[in-house]
């Protein structure tokens, strides 16, 4: 993860906000990373955060995706 002040964790993004995916943290293993790519999560994809509890749910184009916090906290995003 490069130090970049505007970047925040997906889990720390308020509900309803549109963000751009910046990068995946090193903590996400290669297989999980592939899975996320397969769902269409690439930088700088726009995501809308729909909710944070009990899991992070984002809208990626027209697909709703639920991510456990163990994964979502290692996804770094930038505000629109």
């Amino acid at each position: 993860m490069t130090a970049h002040t505007e970047r925040i964790r997906l889990t720390g993004t308020p509900t309803g906000r549109n963000v751009h995916l910046a990068e995946f943290g090193e903590e996400i293993d290669p297989l999980q990373r592939e899975q996320l790519h397969a769902y269409g999560l690439y930088a700088p994809q726009t995501l809308t955060v729909l909710q944070q509890r009990p899991m992070t749910v984002v809208l990626c184009e027209h697909m709703e995706l639920a991510l456990e916090h163990a994964v979502a906290q290692h996804i770094w995003v930038e505000g629109e």
């Binding site: 592939e34 709703e64 995706l65």
Partner: protein, 653 residues
């Protein structure tokens, strides 16, 4: 006809058309439209665990194959491996890629790889209605020109575009590649492709496509190559050229470049109308996973499932079938007929005796379990078609995380309250072997089936509310504790849940009924033989005098450690056959028991081995070694917990 995992080639060599696509894009509904055959269609990623095949309506000489959904290729999950195996082993005529019209980027990501395999391809751009509802318009003509192969917009659930799709199959061509990888990657791909073409050519798939899959570390292609004469050498070369370590490994780079190419093409052929606010479907879906409102909704759904399956199915329908029809009419008639017409007494006993193939095996399968699974499959179909199924997994995920599972396990565990045997089969929807193993173990140990629950509460309720409360607390505690332990002892790490939430939809009754029909057919073909084998084993044990010996031997443990009357031994042997029979055995001697004995007896029999049908299913799913290990762990655990509870309660009573 269903094939599990390995898919043999068509016997007459006429060729296969394979439906390939992401989970939850309507592949199985399209399969049904194109073949008229039953299949376990799915609105839940991972439910189509088997590869289904049927004759195509539009081309009687060919068969159509419905492959499990793939999130991406190279293959990583069991479903993706099964699909890749089918592509490798089939005499492929063409691939029908079923895509999601509202998620074209993701669809084309898979096309980017399929296009490299050199197999003719037609794209069915399905769920066009949902795309329209979201303001998404895909220019199918432009996409077809870009891919140089037919693209047809379809709505499989409504039959829209099916005729056009059938008509275009004759014009299928291998698609134009979506991208050229970067120069360095292209060099590596060419090196491996040249080796494959020279030493291990595949009869249908291109060397270039296989090289890309190999460099992406596809396990199935590696297995195929390892079986070729010079495969080992090529595999060594792949390992040398494409190490998988490092953040920007070649497999990751190839996947990223495919993703970018897919996005670029998707942008050029898709138009998005301005958003017109949230749709009703989206709002309902959000309530279902809402941190507050999701819970009451979940409780309502679970109650509905329990009342329909556990109460209506397991009590009302089973009562009508087992007691009234089989017990009063059918079995007396069959028994009378067999005793009259079959001379050797042992043969008659084997058919209609205490452990008779008909009176026990078929009666259990048809009168006891069939009504339960029928009602369950109906509920299951409604839940998965509505899209609520995956939302259940989100709501319950945290609770399951404590026992090493993730939210996907909620359905097998709830189903276990209806029938543990069926629930054990449903653990197939879990993604990893580790999760399946833990869930199966917990089902076998601590989830009482509905029939047993009825007997347990019947007996304990007659003593006191506290007795029933102690039993419940004890079972929940054992479930959490063993789950916690299993999560730490079973190799592998817990996989965090990442799941797509398909749109909430009103279930189509016809589809739910078709699915239920297909699943029941599968159930009857797969489970009845197991019931008959189990019954036969009990019959032989009884003939050899082993059963009475077990009852006699067990008395020490039962009276000494558990503090129960000696007659309770018989209940445990019957408990092996069916848990509720064991509980009924205790119920029958309830007059001789005090409160502590009743609680201890019921806790022990609940934790005691699952019924023989469940054990047979565990053997089928996990093998004899795992099944034996589970029994070796479960039986002492049941007696240990029962004995400790006995001494603990007596200490404080």
């Amino acid at each position: 006809m269903h094939h599990h995992q390995a898919v043999p080639s068509s016997p007459d060599g006429t060729g296969t058309l394979a439906l390939v696509g992401h989970p939850n894009v309507g592949k199985s509904v399209l399969f049904h439209r194109l073949t008229g055959a039953y299949v376990n269609v799915s609105n839940y990623p991972g439910t189509t665990v088997e590869v289904a095949r049927a004759g195509a309506r539009f081309d009687r000489a060919s068969s159509l194959l419905d492959t499990p959904g793939v999130l991406a290729l190279p293959a990583r999950s069991d479903d993706e491996r099964a699909t890749m195996r089918a592509l490798l082993s089939e005499n492929l005529k063409l691939v029908i890629q079923v895509g999601d019209a509202k998620n074209l980027r993701r669809t084309l990501n898979l096309t980017a790889l399929l296009a490299e395999l050199g197999v003719p391809l037609v794209m069915a751009l399905n769920m066009s209605d949902e795309a329209r509802a979201r303001g998404v318009t895909v220019d199918a003509q432009a996409l077809s020109e870009a891919l140089e192969t037919p693209v047809v917009a379809t709505v499989a659930t409504g039959g829209e575009g099916i005729a056009a799709l059938s008509a275009t199959l004759a014009h299928a061509r291998p698609p134009a590649p979506l991208l050229h990888y970067d120069e360095e990657s292209e060099k590596t791909i060419s090196t491996i492709a040249a080796l494959l073409a020279a030493h291990a050519p595949h009869p249908h798939l291109s060397a270039r496509g296989l090289a890309i899959l190999l460099l992406g570390r596809d396990g199935e292609v590696e297995n195929w190559l390892a079986a070729q004469p010079k495969g080992g050498e090529i595999l060594a070369r792949v390992a040398e050229l494409a190490p998988t370590d490092g953040r920007d490994s070649l497999p990751a780079r190839l996947a990223r470049e495919r993703g970018r190419a897919a996005e670029a093409l998707a942008r050029t052929v898709t138009e998005q109308a301005p958003a017109s606010g949230q749709s009703l479907s989206l709002r309902i879906g959000q309530i279902a996973v809402h941190p507050l409102w999701g819970w009451p909704l979940l409780l309502l759904v679970l109650l509905a499932v329990y009342f329909f399956v556990g109460d209506f199915g397991a009590s009302t329908l089973v009562g009508l079938l087992e007691e009234d029809f089989f017990g009063e009419i059918l079995n007396p008639a069959v028994t009378d007929f067999v005793r009259t017409h079959i001379a050797p007494e042992w043969l008659a006993d084997m058919l209609v005796g205490e452990y008779g193939l008909w009176t026990m095996g078929m009666t259990y399968a048809l009168a006891l379990i069939l009504p339960i699974v029928t009602t369950f499959f109906l509920v299951f179909g409604v839940l998965e078609d509505s899209g609520y199924f995956t939302r259940l997994s989100v709501i319950s995920n945290r609770a399951f995380a404590a026992i090493g599972l993730n939210g996907r396990a909620v359905l097998p565990m709830v189903l276990g309250l209806g029938c543990v045997t069926m629930a054990t089969l449903t653990t197939r929807i879990l993604h990893t072997q580790r999760e399946r193993l833990i869930a199966t173990f917990l089902l076998a140990l601590a989830i009482p089936c509905s029939a047993q629950l009825g007997v347990v509460f019947g007996l304990l309720g007659s003593f006191s509310f506290q007795a029933a409360a102690i039993w419940s607390a004890c079972i929940v505690l054992v479930l959490l504790l063993t789950g916690w332990l299993a999560a730490r002892l079973v190799k592998g790490r817990r996989v965090p849940l990442v799941t797509e939430l398909p749109p909430m939809r009103l279930p189509v009754p016809g589809n739910v009924l078709k699915k239920t029909g297909g699943r029941l057919k599968w159930y009857l073909l797969e489970v009845i033989p197991l019931f008959l084998i189990g019954t036969f084993i009990m019959f032989v044990l009884d003939c050899l005098g082993v059963l009475p010996w077990i009852i006699e031997t067990g008395k020490l443990l039962v009276t000494g450690w558990l503090g129960l009357p000696p007659e309770a031994s018989a209940a445990f042997v019957m408990g092996f056959l069916r848990r509720d029979f064991g509980a009924t055995g205790l119920f029958a001697i309830g007059g001789q028991l005090d409160t502590i004995q009743a609680v201890v007896g019921m806790v022990t029999i609940t934790l005691f081995v699952p019924c023989i049908a469940s054990v047979m299913i565990v053997i089928k799913e996990h093998g004899m070694r795992i099944a034996t290990l589970m029994l070796v762990l479960i039986m002492p655990t049941a007696f240990l917990v029962g004995g400790l509870l006995n001494h603990f309660l007596r200490l404080f009573s």
